[in-house]
Subunit: 116 residues, 2 copies
């Protein structure tokens, strides 16, 4: 994960419609959703949605496959996890205990960083 890939990914998520699309796809998982299903769910005109799907795809956040006339989009789980790791990479230098999600679950941040 280079800085410029991360900038692109964050940029793709930095827009209301795209973030909504992405979150739907995260929830849908590998099965994904058709462009039409997303357009209907979010009430977005087809060209606008298509533009945003292309942005997300260009950033590598989602994948595309065809199923008959429909194009199915699905989240790229690996990149999602890479991005998460990138955000907290080397957090707090020598004192990783300062970076915990909650005081309670100390192992989370630690293993998250390792996974990058």
């Amino acid at each position: 994960m280079t800085d410029s890939l991360a900038v692109r990914a964050f940029g793709a998520l930095a827009q209301d419609t795209r973030l909504a699309v992405y979150r739907r796809l995260v929830e849908a998982g590998p099965a994904g959703l058709s462009a039409g299903a997303i357009a209907e769910a979010l009430d977005v005109p087809a060209p606008t949605l298509s533009f945003h799907l292309a942005q997300l795809r260009g950033a590598g956040l989602i994948t595309q496959r065809r199923d008959s006339r429909s194009l199915i989009y699905a989240v790229d789980v690996a990149l999602m996890n890479t991005l998460i790791g990138f955000l907290s990479d080397r957090c707090c230098g020598g004192q990783p205990d300062l970076c915990l999600p909650t005081p309670k679950s100390a192992s989370d941040a630690r293993s998250r960083r390792k996974a990058v």
Copy 2:
């Protein structure tokens, strides 16, 4: 964490200089870094850096405090962790095992989601 707060945060990270600044601050931890130190480290003109620091701060990603003539900026660890949780929230609906960072550390994604 609302969608529009997340859009703002991702937007703040979606720029080369800002992402570089943010990552330096993540590494620096609560101690933070002065505007001057960041400007020198990244070789960015003061007005440009100031603009980007204001963006990051407006998004809630970093905090500001004064130390004599210097302004010290530091990462907001809580928001960092909230963002991380937001990214993977409800991932893969009913089958959270599909969302793991690596096949090995199954507990990571699970507790990360709980922490949101």
